[in-house]
Assembly symmetry: C2
Homo-oligomer: 110 residues x 2
């Protein structure tokens, strides 16, 4: 078996750095493909392919306006990722607290 398709879910889709770049850019506001191409350092076909992956997993929505296609983030699709990472929040806070405690204990010895 090979690796899961990039379109299998949002986790796979955002694994690609350029797709995260696109989402970051669209977080500001809706943009046309050519605006995205100008903002990224990527060829237009490549951007269109990334947009297709993002659209397939529901991370972006698109609408046509004349000759242009305007893409926007569908933020609720990012929520599952946020919630999954949140289940570890307690753990890293605990971890960071212990680091801090060790640092303070070390200071008191001086």
């Amino acid at each position: 078996m090979a690796r899961a398709a990039t379109t299998s879910d949002a986790f796979n889709a955002v694994a690609e750095p350029r797709r995260r770049d696109i989402l970051n850019y669209l977080a500001m506001q809706e943009r046309s493909v050519s605006e995205i191409v100008d903002a990224m350092e990527t060829e237009q076909p490549s951007v269109s392919k990334h947009l297709k992956v993002l659209k397939d997993v529901g991370l972006v929505k698109a609408r046509r306006e004349g000759r242009q296609m305007l893409y926007r983030v569908n933020a609720v699709a990012i929520r599952p990722l946020h919630e999954w990472t949140s289940t570890f929040e307690r753990l890293w806070k605990h971890q960071l607290l212990r680091v801090k405690e060790r640092a303070e204990a070390k200071n008191e010895l001086q």
Copy 2:
């Protein structure tokens, strides 16, 4: 160019569902490889390979105890994912609010 290596960063590492399963399981407590194998429905070599990927990107730490290797989550490595998703939180809250408003407006018409 092919897809980025699963070991290139935490985003790529957690794209694989089985690796998220392993992290979820380890969130409870430190576990040996055979405990993980029993908990998952996966062959031992497969689990070991997933653990290697997780270890390479720093998502887990391991220590030997006799013949066993005990793995635990390194939660701080998940934090960057949490922070990236957080940048979209404002957007999906706004989105959900509008959904709610539309539903209420619809109710008032009845």
